[in-house]
Amino acid sequence: MLEVRSLTKRYAGGVTALADFSLQAPAGVLGLLGPNGAGKTTLMSILATVTRPTGGTVLWQGQDVLADPHGLRRSLGYLPQDFGVYPKLTAREFLRYLGRLKGVAERDLGSRIDHLLELTNLRQMADRPLGSYSGGQKQRVGIAQALLGDPRLVIVDEPTVGLDPEERVRFRNVLAEIAHGRLVILSTHIVSDVEAIASSIAVLRQGRLLAHATPEELLRRAQGRVFEALVPSERLAEVQSRVAVSSLVRKAEGTRLRFVGDPSSLPGATAVEPSLEDAYLWLSRWGS
């Protein structure tokens, strides 16, 4: 469905956010993982046709997106990382405005908005001005607008920020459900969000693609690289400088570490089954 070829983005200040980035994504949920500044938001912004790249090509269903951004916009549902709302408008008015900009027919617009307000648990406050909404409620309005048209490509950047655990699970399920026949690109720092629903995961670092694989493949790559060890608490700082610690638990006899890295640095360390978070840690630190 989506093909990205040699995408590069250099900002005016000389910062390279993306460097020769290539990727192919079929229908399903594509999770984007990477540390801050890895280029995830720039990539999503380019895919959403908001930012123009310095070089490269983006093809959506075979069509060149950079030559004709409107072609992709007709299929797009986009939730940016940071977005504002018009505080004087109600959620219903705001969604109606966006629905018109998406070209949703007037006869369908009301029912579609009602459906999405229900889906995002906003129906009871739909006629209150958006200025009175909390951060999580605004985020839900953002989610509703991303699903307002009939998007074939859904791009959501950190969508679960500000949502309570119940809403997070709920939104994850919505994304998983709508991904049939569509491409959902989900960027997040929360590995468990993509672990639950992603059919493939792309890991970025410094504007480059480190890996693009299924979650199972990423787990397989991390096999034999994740360990647990009991470390005296006074050695903790020194050990942490040598390995990537994914969790630690204080105990009476010391600190039990779970880490990714070379086991020879900690004699007595035992190999354990990796989690996706371990795999991500290993890739983002040692992957190339």
Binding site: R74, F83, L101, A105, G149, E177
Partner: protein, 536 residues
């Protein structure tokens, strides 16, 4: 210790605000506007135009010779009048910006007190306006070099400025702070209200209280409340003119056919009473500042919501028995839906949004739009107020996305045309023309030229709003420039500022066309910059 902290925090705020504002394109446009206005304000002495004139004790019209003192006084009056009016629009909104950007919440977590924060804002406003004011002063010098007569002397050039302007800027700055922190005044409603506040409280009230501008002032003390300084200026003229001052002070660029006597003006004779009154009038800054400190919620959302919470608690919502308070609907797949995005629909949606967003202004706007249909002079005032309100409603259209942070949401929509400015202009024109239809009927009754001038005027307001909104990424620059122009057109009862042909008795098609052409040039500049921004 406390006072040194106050100064340190104020200095930090002044630096931050000044740097931010001086780097903004709005400042450049304001400086250019002020520069042009300053040159126009002191016309060639042979042109038959004047900007300051009065009647002498024998009832004869006089103006001053272009000595350094008179040119200095002209520049000072211009700066006092326009920086107290336009300046408000340039500086207001600073607290609101801190609130909306989240910086306010960060500041609220510091030891910065409410008074220290607002004092810093006041000082930053004052400093910025002083930078702009210095342009008027520099232009005064340039004008003197071109048209001036007699020897050059620095003090007579600068003295009127020092007497009139800083006090006015201090009042403008404190009013901006007060409006910014007061719910109901911090939005566009406050921006409309300020114009009337400025007219009645800053301009007319001191004039009326201290003898008016139409007659010679009565003897007595120097004005103790005179933000713009015009009442003080009238008294200065009264004390210093060689042929006496008979009143009827005229301010504003006007052209007269009869010859006007230009008399030497010795300049301001400073006295303790005059200087003391100007300095003493600064005490009037304290009540609005204290009120602002009292009203300011220090970005605490709980204070702002206290009223609505009380209202909510008065009407408790009781969930029905046996159902959970929060119903979580199951996730439902999206049904297919047909979409047909088009630029026309985007323009219509934007026009609807302009109407929706103008919650406070839309009914007065509709009322004055209808009243503008009254023929002849009966419809003149409603038409003028309609044009003012239309400007307010359109002021933030071009910058709405950048102000609200909705750019990525909106600009990724399929119906939004490639040229965002064309889209915004289309919607603004649609709103202007629909609301301006009744006025068009009345204008047509006066002749085809009147009808066309009104249409050009509507086009001018929409084009200028979109162009300056895009250039400055805000609405305040437009409001400042447009309100000043509107005031000149209203005050001049038409003449060279009548951009719509409805302010005077005679529609000047050429004037309306010139204004529209100027706005279109600005639009081209805005489009070029927009294109550059997109490429970056």
């Amino acid at each position: 210790m406390a006072s040194s902290n106050l100064w340190r925090s104020a200095r930090a705020q002044v630096e931050a605000e000044l740097l931010g504002r001086l780097r903004s394109p709005a400042t450049l446009v304001s400086l250019i506007g002020l520069l042009v206005l300053s040159f126009l304000w002191v016309p060639s002495p042979t042109s038959g135009a004047y900007s300051i004139a009065w009647k002498n004790a024998h009832g004869e019209l006089e103006s001053g010779r272009y000595s350094t003192s008179f040119v200095g006084a002209s520049a000072a009056v211009l700066a006092a009048l326009f920086l107290t009016l336009i300046g408000f629009y340039l500086v207001a909104g600073s607290v609101r910006r801190d609130r909306e950007s989240g910086i306010g919440l960060i500041l609220a977590g510091t030891p910065l007190t409410r008074s220290a924060y607002l004092f810093g804002k006041w000082l930053a406003h004052f400093a910025y306006l002083s930078v702009l004011g210095s342009v008027a002063l520099a232009t005064g010098l340039a004008v003197w070099l071109r048209y001036g007569e007699g020897p050059f002397a620095l003090w007579p050039l600068v003295a009127p400025y020092l007497l009139l302007v800083p006090v006015g800027l201090a009042f403008t700055a404190v009013t901006a702070v007060l409006f910014d922190v007061t719910p109901g005044l911090r939005g566009r409603g406050g921006q409309v209200l300020y114009f009337f506040f400025w007219t009645f409280v800053f301009l007319l009230l001191p004039g009326e209280f201290y003898g008016g501008f139409e007659q010679a002032p009565s003897e007595g003390s120097w004005p103790l409340f005179d933000p713009v300084g015009l009442a003080t200026f009238v008294r200065v003229l009264h004390h210093s003119l060689p042929n006496g001052f008979g009143g009827d002070l005229n301010l504003g660029l006007a052209i007269i056919d009869e010859p006007i006597a230009r008399v030497p003006w010795p300049g301001i004779q400073f006295g303790l009473g005059m200087v003391g009154a100007r300095i003493g009038s600064l005490l009037w800054l304290l009540p609005p500042f204290a009120l602002a400190v009292w009203v300011f919620d220090r970005f605490d959302p709980a204070r702002g919501r206290a009223r609505s919470r009380r209202k909510e608690s008065a009407e408790p919502v009781v969930p029905p028995q046996g159902t959970p308070a929060r119903v979580v609907a199951p996730a439902v797949a999206l049904a297919p839906i047909s979409t047909s995005p088009s630029s026309a629909r985007a323009v219509a949606a934007e026009a609807r949004l302009i109407w929706l967003e103008a919650r406070l202004q839309r009914w007065p706007l509709a009322g004055t739009a209808l009243a503008a249909a009254l023929p002849g002079s009966a419809g003149q005032l409603p038409a003028a107020i309609f044009l003012l309100l239309l400007g307010v409603v359109l002021s933030e259209v071009a910058a709405r996305e950048s102000l609200a942070g909705t750019s990525p949401l909106i600009h990724s929509q399929p119906a939004v045309p490639r040229s965002k400015l064309a889209w915004k202009l289309g919607a603004s024109l649609l709103v202007s023309l629909l609301l301006g239809l009744p006025g068009e009927l009345a204008a047509l009754l006066g002749g085809a030229a009147g009808g066309l001038a009104w249409l050009l005027g509507l086009g001018f307001v929409a084009t200028l709003a979109v162009a300056t909104g895009s250039l400055s990424r805000g609405g305040r620059l437009f409001l400042g420039l447009y309100t000043a122009l509107w005031y000149l057109a209203l005050n001049g009862k038409g003449g060279p500022f009548d951009f719509s042909g409805r302010f005077g008795t005679e529609s000047r098609l050429g004037v309306a066309a010139s204004f529209l052409a100027g706005a279109m040039l600005l639009m081209l500049l805005a489009q070029a910059l927009e294109h550059r921004r997109e490429r970056a």
